[in-house]
């Protein structure tokens, strides 16, 4: 083998073997790569390192919470106390280890008929079980048996997440002389300073949890006041333990105070509930007097109070003053402060108003900014503090920004404000007064000029704002029905009367005109009537035997019956005028004879010197009647 001296790889006289050359080449490539990586590593190290990813704090908080344990759902049911005296209340309590939203509670519990159950509190709490939390949902019912016996609520089924869960049976033993001392169930007491309130009137409600025998006091968790039309201000709640004298006995009592405000009028039924949680106090608590705080793990028991009836009246609409924003209570106004007393047109100034008082101070709303053609008043801004702080400090501060729009203004505009005083049941004026200022001329911004002009228009439209009116003091004129007159039956019928009257008048007029054209009809009718009268008189004269009257009346009757036939005036007729009206046979007969003799007798009576002979005159009556009948038939 021939070896070349010198540097390996270098072309020399001695040529390295091929394998060795390959090894050299590979070594060189590896060395280059190592150098390149080392260089890159140097460059990378020289740059700043990126921070490690930071976990979202909310996510961290969530992840740090104990796990919610949702195992097989079980239900427990028991009476508290299980032994009671007749008339004594006991609490029927059903508890599930499930969330409240998972439970579909039945409408009614199958309780015995002589053990009525009254629904009470229901609630959910998360109970620590080691490192996990377990939900506990409890339903309370009040039970009261008036007679001794054993009362059993049978087992029944409740759907939890769609799956049936059996609530076991529970029994209550009611005995007149129980063998063991019976203690009443733990109950809360809800105290309200007044039960006759106005809408929006805030009152401090106290939930009292009297201590157990032995002075053991348990804290309350999730204390709340249930009821429709009521809001509870949790932010204004306080808790303490103090000794309360009840029924002559000093009892250490846990007291939870909060602010409640009715928001609906009417009769409201409210009750308090909470979980007795032993020594698990949340927040600051003041302890006055001796009290025993139990140790160990708490037993979460849902307790409630008897319901309290509230009568809530609406705020009267009468006497409401401008600027009312729902303030109910008793308030005073401190002198408002202006940031500057000398201004230029268009220069904003700050008005600070401080309202003190008692009532719903935490939710006090600032009066609306008034509309003025000389000022632009921006809506008030309150201090950015929590409501409970505002309630605790006892005053509320509002800041208004005022911009003068006209030169020469001497005072700020008053801001109407009022509150309702429930004690006096009247609205009290609390208008923020004007403050003296000096407004000098200045450069008004261009965008404020149309604003100033629009102010006057806005002031007018403000008067047209709609609102529900008050009650009418009187019913007003009453109608018989809502149905309009036009659709009632009697109204069209009523018009039949005038129509009939007019129709009658029309017909009467037509008849009258006809009779005017045919007077003989009237004469004959009159003659018939007169003849009837004369014939009656004639018969009377015959009955009396008065021949003279017979002759006179007979002549008159003949004349009356004959007159329309000519026609002529009856008095102008003579016997010779009557006879032609009789038929030929009657003219020669008794009728004609009677006519002639009656006329003769009448003439003799009237014109003769001596009285005529009346002997047979009355015997002419039949003939005369015949003549009158003939004449009457012709009429």
């Amino acid at each position: 083998m021939v070896m070349r001296s010198g540097v390996p790889g270098r072309r020399s006289g001695v040529r390295a073997p091929r394998r060795l050359r390959l090894i050299y080449r590979k070594f060189g490539q590896v060395a280059a790569w190592v150098a390149l990586c080392a260089g890159l590593a140097q460059i990378t190290v020289a740059q700043p390192t990126s921070p490690p990813p930071v976990r979202d704090p909310l996510m961290s908080l969530m992840m740090s919470q104990p796990r919610l344990e949702l195992g097989p759902v079980r239900a427990t049911a028991a009476f508290d106390p299980p032994v009671a005296r007749p008339g004594m209340e006991s609490v029927y309590r059903v508890t599930f280890n499930a969330l409240e939203d998972m439970i579909k509670w039945p409408g009614e519990v199958p309780a015995p008929a002589d053990l009525p159950l009254r629904a009470g509190a229901k609630g959910q709490i998360l109970q620590m079980t080691g490192t996990n939390m377990q939900p506990r949902t409890t339903y309370n019912f009040r039970a009261r048996a008036e007679s001794p016996g054993r009362f059993t609520v049978p087992e029944f089924t409740v759907l939890v997440s769609g799956q049936p869960v059996v609530v076991p049976a529970a029994s209550l033993e009611v005995m007149r002389d129980p063998p063991i001392p019976v203690t009443p169930p733990q109950m809360l007491i809800l105290e309200l300073p007044a039960t006759n309130l106005f809408v929006g009137q805030s009152v401090t409600a106290r939930i009292l949890s009297p201590g157990l025998p032995g002075g053991v006091v348990q804290a309350l968790a999730q204390a709340q006041i249930n009821g429709q039309g009521l809001i509870m201000d949790q932010s204004a709640s306080r808790q303490r333990i103090e000794t309360v004298i009840r029924n002559g006995t000093a009892i250490p009592t846990y007291i939870f105070e909060t602010l409640v405000t009715p928001i609906a009028a009417g009769k409201l039924s409210v009750f308090a509930q909470g979980y007795s949680v032993g020594n698990r106090f949340t927040g600051t608590i003041i302890i006055q007097g001796p009290a025993v705080i139990p140790g160990g793990l708490p037993q979460y028991t849902l307790v409630d109070s008897d319901p309290v009836e509230l009568v809530v009246r609406p705020l009267p609409s009468e006497g409401k003053l401008p600027g009312f924003t729902g303030a109910v209570g008793s308030f005073t106004l401190e002198p408002p402060q202006l940031s500057s007393g000398r201004l230029q047109v268009g220069e904003p100034v700050r008005l600070t108003v401080r309202v003190r008082g008692s009532g719903n101070l935490a939710r006090l709303v600032a009066p609306p900014a008034p509309r003025s053609s000389e000022w632009q008043v921006l809506a008030a801004s309150g201090e950015n503090i929590p409501p409970q702080v505002r309630q605790a400090q006892g005053f509320a501060v509002f800041h208004y920004t005022l911009v003068p729009l006209a030169e020469g203004e001497r005072s700020t505009p008053p801001i109407p404000f009022c509150y309702f005083d429930p004690e006096r049941e009247t609205y009290v004026d609390l208008t923020i007064p004007s403050l003296p200022v000096v407004v000098e001329s200045g450069r008004m911004a261009a965008d404020r000029r149309p604003l100033a002009q629009a102010r006057k228009l806005a002031a007018r439209t403000e008067q047209d704002e709609l609102a529900l009116s008050g009650l009418s003091a009187a019913p007003g004129p009453a109608a018989r029905s809502l149905k309009p007159l036009q659709q009632r039956v009697w109204f069209p019928l009523m018009h039949v009367g005038p129509g009939m009257v007019l129709l009658g008048l029309f017909l009467w007029d037509r008849r009258r005109r006809y009779l005017e054209q045919h007077p003989a009809i009237v004469w004959r009718r009159r003659a018939r009537r007169a003849l009837q009268r004369q014939r009656r008189a004639l018969r009377r004269a015959v009955r009396r035997g008065d021949a003279g009257q017979f002759a006179v009346i007979g002549v008159s009757a003949l004349k009356v019956a004959s007159a329309p036939h000519y026609p002529a005036e009856p008095r102008a007729l003579v016997g010779a005028d009557i006879l032609p009206l009789l038929p030929e046979a009657d003219r020669a007969g008794a009728a004609g004879e009677a006519v002639r003799r009656v006329f003769a007798a009448a003439d003799a009576l009237e014109f003769g010197p001596t009285a005529p002979a009346w002997d047979s005159l009355l015997s002419l009556h039949p003939g005369l009647e015949r003549a009158l009948a003939i004449l009457e038939a012709k009429l």
Partner: protein
């Protein structure tokens, strides 16, 4: 003890006894009438007291009874207020419309209607021109105006001839005026007639059905207080026409301005 014979004419009672009996009956009748009047007045006052104490359900009940007994504009206004406070928008609007039906000059009812419609985002009923004319005066006023003007015209045309009085110029003028007033009042009567068929939906989300059956397809849902015109009745359902659509609603879900006899 003597027993007086019973005469058949008097039924055995003496005139004095009859007089006393009549007096007692008259006093009792007066007391009953006074009690009824007092009860009627009490209903209104009871409603006012209940309203002021916040018991709106009782107030609405009292005002409703009073409105049935004696429909009056003020009673219906208060009924509307009570219903509004109870959250019954449809019934409140119906009561206020009825108040305006009786008294078109009731500005409080008009204001409340505007307020309620603005608050509940409801539209006013679209009235035709003759219906608008009919709202200018109370319904009874239009009726009496038409009756008096008609009979005045007819009387002045016919009576002078019948009574043979010389026809004067003023007879003709008054008759012409009466006839003109009567003719001008006719559109108002037509408006009253059509407005009496105007109703308002009482319950919120009232379904408007395609057919008068319980299983009918819904055309749309109507808001409480929405106006609808009565077209026809069939088996407990009413065919109504609204500004949006026509369809059937249950009879109890529609309150007519003038209650139907059906």
């Amino acid at each position: 003890m003597s027993v007086q014979p019973r005469s058949p004419e008097t039924g055995g009672t003496s005139p004095r006894l009859r007089w006393w009996r009549g007096m007692v009956l008259a006093v009792l009748a007066g007391a009953v009438l006074a009690a009824e009047a007092q009860a009627d007045g009490n209903l209104f006052q009871e409603g006012v007291a209940a309203y002021r104490s916040g018991d709106y359900a009782r107030a609405a009940d009292a005002f409703g009874k009073e409105a049935v007994l004696r429909p009056a504009s003020g009673t219906l206004l208060n009924l509307g207020n009570a219903e509004w406070q109870r959250g019954q928008t449809g019934r409140a609007i119906l009561a206020w419309e009825r108040a305006r039906w009786l008294d078109p000059f009731n500005n409080q009812a008009r204001n409340n209607l505007a307020f309620a419609r603005k608050t509940a985002q409801l539209e006013s009923p679209r009235l035709t021109w003759f219906e608008v004319v009919s709202t200018w005066l109370p319904n009874s006023a239009w009726a009496w105006i038409a009756a008096l003007s008609l009979w005045t015209a007819v009387g002045l045309v016919t009576l002078p001839g019948i009574l043979r009085a010389p026809k004067a110029a003023w007879h003709q003028a008054v008759a012409a005026c009466g006839l003109a007033v009567f003719l001008l009042s006719l559109p108002a009567h037509l408006g009253i007639h059509t407005r009496s068929k105007l109703g308002f939906i009482l319950e919120k989300d009232t379904p408007l059905r395609l057919t008068p059956t319980q299983e009918a397809q819904y055309v749309t849902r109507l808001a409480a207080g929405e106006p609808a015109r009565w077209v026809r009745y069939s088996r407990g359902y009413v065919l109504v026409r609204t500004s949006r659509a026509a369809g059937w609603v249950e009879q109890g879900q529609l309150g007519l301005t003038v209650p139907s006899d059906r």
